[in-house]
């Protein structure tokens, strides 16, 4: 069966869904495909944290832009998206980390991002369950949390309202140089452009792509409303070689609307399996208990894993692939997929339509990597 679209998005995770919503709204005849269900991959496993980050200017630009889009859409979300503006609290354990907090404060204030420094007394007041003796922290006011699978569904529903077609259970075997796809069942769908938004599985469609799987563990607790109020992340994460070494953990906790809490985070390369690994889980939880001692006695309901899509420079791949200008990428978002999904979607639509992008798109161009990827022809 031959069909024709302006754009086919492969992968209905939150990034693909955001791309579909933007493309459809912009008037492009859009098809979004997933071998499983909407939001069933990395999107389902992740924390749903909407956060600005400042590892690089380009990372800040994309996260800040995306966060603004989330804020702008806030009133339109259905209740099940569970968007909460709880803010992020970056916690400093010692003077060195406190200096980092102040550096961030300066950085964000210079870029009109609302933040406030808290000293050791104030941090104990806003989060009484944090251990005594912390140096203080930085509160980032407009950060928030969402429930990712429903957010992804919200976006594909929005795309559908603008005429997009969404197909679950439709695996793609191959991306065509001229922009279409061939499905696993052998059928061929023609399109002006195709977009690989399959996250950690992107290299399956484009071997050689510099995207690696980065395994993470999460734990969800029973309901303890008010135990924490912000998403709390340790500043020490920046020290603990979170970016380069093989296995690492960092304290990260999120309160959900239901009163349950999500506890993370862990990062592993060379860990392809989805099984829960007791030793790294134990390290992750021990780290969390260091910051929130009374967490130890709380009830854990479930632990699971997921794989992030990691690139060498911690920035995603957004735009035309190296080899074929009709085969695009929207992948490699590592731990910022939820946050930067909306910005990615907007950039993709802008670039496809030749519109001026609100932030420079070059830093995310796939062509920045001289990878030997071949989109199968």
């Amino acid at each position: 069966m031959n069909q024709s679209f302006d754009v086919i998005i492969v992968g209905a995770g939150i990034v693909g869904a955001a791309c579909a919503a933007e493309c459809a709204e912009a008037g492009l005849k859009t098809l979004i495909l997933d071998r499983g269900i909407v939001g069933g991959g990395t999107t389902a496993a992740g924390m749903g944290h909407i956060v600005v980050m400042d590892d690089s200017e380009a990372q800040f630009a994309l996260t800040e832009y995306s966060r603004r889009l989330w804020l702008r859409m806030r009133e339109t979300f259905s209740a099940d998206v569970e968007y909460e503006l709880c803010g992020t609290l970056w916690v400093a354990a010692d003077d060195e980390e406190m200096a980092e907090a102040r550096r961030k404060e300066e950085y964000y204030l210079a870029r009109n991002t609302k933040v406030e420094i808290l000293d050791s007394k104030e941090i104990g007041r806003v989060e009484p369950n944090l251990r005594a003796g912390l140096a203080g922290g930085l509160r980032v006011v407009d950060d928030g949390v969402v429930y990712p699978p429903c957010a992804a569904k919200f976006l594909t529903d929005k795309a559908a309202r603008h005429g997009a077609e969404c197909r679950s259970g439709a695996a793609v075997r191959m991306l065509l140089a001229e922009g279409g796809v061939i499905l696993a069942d052998g059928s061929r769908i023609v399109a002006g452009h195709s977009i690989n938004a399959t996250g950690p599985w992107s290299p399956e469609l484009m071997p050689g792509l510099p995207v690696r799987k980065r395994k993470g563990h999460l734990l969800i607790t029973d309901r303890y409303p008010g135990f924490v109020h912000h998403q709390i992340v340790e500043l020490g994460y920046l020290k603990s070689a979170h970016s380069v070494s093989k296995d690492s953990v960092a304290f990260n906790i999120q309160p959900r609307k239901t009163g349950q809490m999500l506890i993370g985070s862990s990062r592993q390369y060379e860990a392809e399996g989805t099984e829960v690994e007791q030793d790294i889980l134990g390290r992750m939880l021990a780290r969390a208990i260091e910051y929130l001692p009374s967490l130890a006695k709380l009830s854990a309901t479930r632990v699971w894993t997921g794989h992030r899509a990691a690139t060498p420079d911690k920035l995603p791949l957004i735009g035309p692939s190296l080899e074929h200008d009709r085969v695009w990428l929207a992948s490699g978002h590592e731990g910022l997929g939820i946050t930067t999904s909306l910005g990615t979607g907007r950039l993709v639509a802008d670039l496809l339509l030749g519109r001026k992008t609100e932030i420079p798109a070059e830093p995310y161009a796939p062509s920045r990597f001289a990878y030997a990827a071949v989109a199968h022809v």
Partner: protein, 424 residues
Amino acid sequence: MRETLLRFEVVVVGAGPAGLAAASVAAEKGCRTALVDDTPWLGGQIWRGQQLRRRNPQAARWIDRFQKSKATLLDQCSILGPAERQTLLAEHPSGARQIQWERLILATGARELFLPFPGWTLPGNFGPGGLQSLAKHGWPVAGKRILLAGSGPLLMAVGAGLRKMGAHLVSINEQAPLHRLMSFAAQLVQRPAKLVQAADLKWTLRGTPFRYGVWPKAAHGDKQVQAVTLTDGRREWVEECDFLACGFGLVPNVELPLALTCQLRDGFVKVDERQASTVPGIYAAGELTGIGGADTALVEGKIAGLAAAGDEPGAHRLEAQRASWHQFREALKATFTLRPELSRLAAAETLVCRCEDVKFDRLKSFAGWRDAKLQTRCGMGACQGRVCGAAVRVLFGWGMESVRPPITPARIESLCQGEQKHTS
């Protein structure tokens, strides 16, 4: 018990009939054996309370036998999941444990199947086995009007037990049709012990209306159950009660076997003639391999224990006995098959997921379990799908998802790698 790492040759999980049998015979054969259970009691579900009030001679014999054996009892130990190789992570009120095994026998039994119908979430609606357990541990039932409904031999057994505790039985309502119950009764003639049990039940339950081909349509009440509408498919009528004990049979507790990557067949743990699962060194016995009752569980437990202890001839000698009880097990399955009307009892507004308050009509719109779970959180709440998961299988034909640890809720500190002290 302060040691955090415990090593055994044979570890048995579950202290019901299958586990008691397996642990007893393995220990008698000289294996360093542990029996692990998450409660402070021996007997599992079916022999609940038998440790204290020894009314069931068979149960009393096995409890004695276990206690005389040299097996170690690790009670109040909830298995959280596999740790590293051939090690289970467990939680005791005093802290976490790591239990190392060379052979593992899983005897985690079954739980009741609950199907949603209007009013099923009202306090005062229990599973029959659930109410029996609670009553044995002090829940007041004397003088209470109790209506039993659903399916399975448990209805009558529980009814009899409750009556002996002074409850007034309003009625017992079995959904299976008469002709199937008659065939089942005919089967019992071949099993004298069961026949005696049946006669005893009949006597104990004299005067209580027993109906077949009848099932509950709705439970009613202000803040708790006060009445139940029953139906036979043609007429409906209402009966008042204080408690409703309603369960539609049993489903095996396959969470631990799945976490250990044992394969299932038709929802039960797949085992060979030695009760060995598809994972080397791991055996399964009792309700895990098929709903067959205490007698089936005992012989399977014995075979598993003997096989784990390396006694091939001993295990072989019990095959005929097991085959006989497997016939009984097949008869149970055929008799108490659930009728299609039961998957249509839920109204649009009826909750299917009690933990996350997800209604039937919301779930209906999904094509599969995973989508429904992610979008509604059905099955992602405190019970992790143990109640609704079995129900949606009947309602929609949805299969089970993968199992994630902890298998039972655990304190976060129990999931941290503690310091390991070795004990031999």
